[in-house]
């Protein structure tokens, strides 16, 4: 028997547990009792995090497509084909004809290395990862208003606050150990406002449940801010000393009377007034949000409004307050921190800045680095369909299920000159690849993950990877070497982290010998720094907090006669994203074995639909069949569908309408019609 302390591979909460192994096989999980976030508990996915690791469908050997069929190959053959294939595309079409998709499931070290491979070895800034699909609006919106696109506070602040506003986050299902902390706070007297038109578990405990129309967050938040200003509830000292551009904000919300906001959101004016009074009346109030805010064609505007509400009420820079975007994947914070983004190096250092570029070029031993920002992932599909992108290297992502408008995604992926996928299972995307590289999963490698509260934690190897599968970092370094680059030879991920620390001020004091047992929170600029639980204490990262007023815009696609329902998408408690791990975990898959769609009983009755009926759901982009779940979780006129399932894929329906600034797709609103399958 052996116990290995590591980080849960699922959400961004960053719970730590011990993997229990016996004879080289995982046989269970035990929570870490002392961990500051999980505190001896886990959610159902955490308790089952060992269950997929030895699944017989794990990839064990490289695969190369020959005569149209993926066939086993040696590592030498597969990696040489990767390198020559990428180089051939670049010779023919230019450096920016290749793109690298990194992974929020990979470690910090691996994200850093893939970013380095793209930039230093293949000379392109075309590197991005799935943060584009979840919190790119946060990175843009909070960087502009606060100077830092991450949770301002720590999870423990939930214990210290008086009022919590949860907007667009189904926290008990998507960040269960954070959600449970909210439930405990409410039991102890904390006021809870839930703004989400699904009747999520938290709503059952809320003092106010605001079921506003999908996509009307700017109207709701502007309405709340209007009331706060009109009723003299502004924290004037904070606004005067810590912020700028307040006059513009006040002017922008002046027209958003409760009545006008009510008309736009579908709420009662009184609900908006009550929310404003409850939030602004609290000594300490904190905002938690997630995809319900970010995944809109106006996601950055939503984030701007959230930031403004916190500044208006002086709820930044103190315990029990703050703007707290809950990051989805276990390392989506780290993926962003490491610069797996088209415009940023690690630590949010801009590629457009010649001084920064020069520093990285010297450290990496290359004459120059590309200056123009690369492609965001969500624009890659269009670039490929226009011929500007010819090769895609995907590490640990499954865009066939996770990208909007699946039909388009499939066409584009099939049309590429070269598609390389590095993953642990033959995902729907890997099945289309020319070359498949088998990777080690989280339990089979060393590295670090950064959780939603900026806590950098050690992940450890508990068992060997199956067959000849290798850790992502080893594969990336091998590719670099075969491409003729000698600056990526490391004994272990520890050495990679040392390099990261040397180039990344936010991580300057992060080193493996400092991370036991439960990590450090960035910014951590030097080896003596204790880490930073709270951001923006005396001043904002950018100096003064910047009010950045937002104009209300409707979602890109609204219901009409042909497509009369709003479809909103998301995750369920029991599955993770495209299901490659959880659908191979027996108990988790048993809980949610198939695709479903939530429909309100009134709509169901009108359409003659009963619980469990097969339904045909169609949008302008595609159609799928799924199973009806008749429930008051949703309001009439709105349908909810999870995106985990290849059969009945929600993203066959969704709209690739992008926020103009963050390029995030509008997963939360599109128009569909639905009918019972005869």
């Amino acid at each position: 028997m052996k116990r290995t302390l590591t980080v849960c591979p699922y959400c961004g909460t960053g719970c730590m547990f011990y993997l229990v192994s016996d004879g080289g096989k995982l046989v269970g999980v035990e929570p870490s009792v002392t961990h500051p976030v999980s505190r001896g508990g886990l959610c159902v996915k955490g308790w089952n995090a060992f269950a997929f690791v030895h699944h017989p469908e794990r990839l064990t050997t490289p695969l190369v497509r020959r005569d149209g069929v993926l066939q086993p190959a040696s590592w030498d053959e597969a990696l040489d084909l990767v390198v020559t294939g990428l180089q051939a595309v670049q010779e023919k079409h230019g450096s920016d004809a290749v793109m690298f998709a990194s992974s929020a499931k990979a470690t910090n070290e691996e994200n850093y290395l893939l970013m380095k491979l793209a930039r230093a070895v293949f000379g392109t800034n075309n590197i991005d990862h799935c943060a584009r699909l979840c919190h790119s609006s946060t990175v843009t919106g909070l960087a502009e208003t606060f100077g830092s696109g991450a949770m301002t506070n720590s999870i423990s602040c939930i214990d210290e606050t008086d009022v919590i506003l949860v907007i667009g986050s189904n926290t008990t299902e998507q960040h269960p150990l954070i959600g449970s902390r909210i439930l405990n706070a409410v039991q102890n007297g904390t006021g809870l406002i839930v703004a989400d038109n699904r009747r999520i578990r938290l709503a059952r405990h809320a003092a106010l449940h605001l079921r506003h129309k999908n996509g009307s967050d700017v109207a709701l938040l502007n309405g709340i801010m209007h009331v706060i200003i009109a009723e003299g509830l502004v924290d004037e000292e904070f606004v005067a000393t810590r912020t700028e551009n307040y006059a513009a904000q006040a002017a922008a919300v002046a027209e958003w009377t409760p009545e006008k906001a009510a008309a736009a959101t579908g709420l009662e004016a009184g609900e908006i007034v009550a929310a404003a009074r409850l939030f602004a009346g609290a000594k300490r109030a904190m905002i938690l949000y997630s995809m319900g805010i970010t995944q809109h064609s106006h996601g950055v505007d939503n984030v701007r409004c959230v930031a403004a509400l916190a500044m208006l009420t002086g709820n930044v820079g103190r315990p029990g307050t703050g703007v707290n975007p809950l990051r989805g994947q276990n390392n989506v914070q780290g993926g962003c921190d490491m610069g797996a983004l088209p415009d940023l190096y690690s630590g949010y250092q801009k590629v457009a800045d010649p001084l920064v570029r020069d520093r990285f070029a010297r450290a990496w031993g290359v004459p120059s680095l590309p200056a123009a920002p690369g492609l965001p992932l969500t624009r890659a599909m269009n670039a490929a369909s226009e011929g500007r992108l010819q090769a895609l290297f995907v590490m640990g992502e499954n865009p066939m299920l996770s990208d909007p408008d699946q039909g388009h995604a499939r066409k584009v992926l099939e049309g590429l000159e070269l598609l390389v996928v590095q993953d642990i299972f033959l995902t729907e995307t890997a099945a289309l690849a020319d070359i498949v590289l088998p990777a080690a999963c989280y339990a089979e490698k060393e590295g670090t993950f950064t959780n939603t509260e900026r806590r950098v934690q050690r992940a450890r190897k508990a068992v060997e990877s199956p067959g000849t599968a290798r850790a992502d970092w080893e594969i990336i370094c091998d590719i670099a070497l075969r491409a003729g680059y000698r600056g990526m030879c490391y004994h272990d991920p520890r050495e990679v982290m040392d390099e990261i620390a040397s180039l990344t001020p936010l991580y300057g004091g992060i080193a493996y010998d400092r991370l036991d047992p439960h990590g450090l929170q960035w910014p951590c600029p030097d080896r003596n720094h204790p880490g930073t639980p709270l951001l923006h204490l005396e001043h904002f990262t950018r100096g003064l907090g910047h009010f950045s007023p937002a104009r209300y815009r409707l979602p890109a696609e609204l219901p009409d006669d042909r497509y009369p329902f709003v479809l909103t998408t998301g995750r369920t408690y029991f599955h993770w994203h495209t299901g490659s791990m959880t659908r191979r975990s027996h108990l988790l898959d048993r809980e949610e074995p198939r695709s479903f769609i939530e429909i309100h009983p009134d709509d169901a009755a009108r359409l003659g639909v009963r619980d469990h009926d097969r339904l045909q759901v169609a949008s302008r982009r595609g159609e799928v069949q799924t199973e009806a779940r008749v429930t008051t979780m949703v309001v009439p006129g709105v349908l909810f569908m999870p995106f985990h399932f290849a059969e009945g894929a929600a993203n066959a329906l969704t709209n690739n309408a992008l926020d103009p600034e963050s390029s995030i797709p509008e997963f939360k609103v599109c128009a569909v019609r639905v009918e019972r399958v005869p």
Partner: protein
């Protein structure tokens, strides 16, 4: 009775490990205490009941039931060495006794008894509870018991196996008995046992209304930790993994807090809400098991209350139930 000085503990464990697969409370790198292998960390006998099911040595979180290779069935391998498991508090021993009865009932669970038979179980009591408080001795129900007298471990064998493994230890300087401690504890009313008894009566008299369970259910995030930490929860799920070479059937701890646990093939679920499932969890231990087994099957080990992220473990729920309806 024998005596073991703390300084002798490591040698004692090393000697045992030659003939036994030893499990004992150890301290893991982040301060978590579990019943683990000696190599997992330094022995940590003080601190009371450990995290995790102490019974997992015999009924692991995940384990193979059999493999089928070309039609040939093979059961799981027997352990190379019999198990020696130290770390059961008296309450844990009650849990073990209960699941021994469960797994032996009817069709005896061969996979469980492959590990349980021939195993030696060692209890832990005395001044080794949380903060050094007294855990009254079990006085039996195990092969031997380690009783902390404040400076040494008194090792009390109750079976031939217990006598055999403790034979090499010294005798105490003076004749000693821990029976007085046990009697003293028995003479004291146990507030939590009384609480459970009253909660059990309320349930059996059907005096707990549905809305109470709806409130408890609303606070359940279905993490399943209560079941997965409980030493008397024995439910398991079964999966088959097929590869080109073989099929492997294994079982893993399951939870009655999951919808799929009772869902029928039609999709209908007689326990289709968190309220019903929460009621079932408590009702099973406090009302159904007394009917079937003649005793409440919660022995107040405290693990579900410790592991539950939202504070609805057994004692918390019983306390609320009795306060409101008792």
């Amino acid at each position: 009775m024998k005596i073991l000085h703390p300084a002798q503990l490591n040698n004692f464990i090393e000697r045992l490990a030659k003939a036994w697969e030893v499990r004992l409370p150890v301290l893991l790198p982040d301060g978590t205490r579990v019943i683990g292998s000696p190599g997992d960390g330094p022995p940590a006998l003080h601190g009371g009941a450990v995290m995790g099911k102490p019974t997992s040595a015999f009924f692991p979180h995940h384990g193979t039931l059999f493999t089928s290779d070309g039609g040939k069935l093979e059961g799981p391998q027997n352990p190379d060495l019999p198990l020696f498991v130290l770390g059961f508090t008296p309450r844990d021993l009650a849990c073990l006794r209960f699941i021994d009865r469960f797994f032996a009932d009817g069709l005896c669970d061969d996979v469980y008894f492959r590990r349980r038979n021939n195993a030696l179980v060692a209890g832990l009591s005395g001044l080794c509870g949380p903060g050094g408080i007294m855990i009254p001795p079990a006085g039996g129900g195990c092969d031997l018991e380690f009783f902390c007298d404040g400076s040494c471990w008194l090792v009390i064998p109750y079976s031939d196996g217990g006598r055999e493994v403790s034979a090499g230890l010294s005798d105490p300087a003076l004749p000693t008995s821990v029976e007085l401690f046990r009697q003293a504890a028995l003479s004291q009313p146990d507030e939590q046992e009384e609480l459970l008894r009253r909660a059990s009566e309320l349930l059996r008299a059907d005096r707990v209304p549905d809305h109470f369970w709806a409130e408890i259910g609303d606070r359940c995030i279905a993490c399943t930790g209560c079941n997965l930490a409980c030493p008397t929860c024995t439910c398991f799920g079964v999966q088959d993994w097929r590869s080109a070479q073989k099929t492997e059937r294994s079982r893993m701890w399951d939870s009655c807090q999951l919808d799929g646990f009772m869902r029928e093939a039609s999709g209908h679920n007689p326990l289709g809400s968190e309220a019903l499932r929460s009621r079932r969890r408590i009702h099973h231990k406090l009302a159904a098991d007394p009917e079937k087994w003649g005793e409440i099957s919660c022995f107040l080990c405290g693990r579900c209350d410790a592991v539950c992220p939202t504070g609805i473990g057994m004692v918390a729920v019983a306390r609320e139930m009795v306060a409101r309806f008792g």
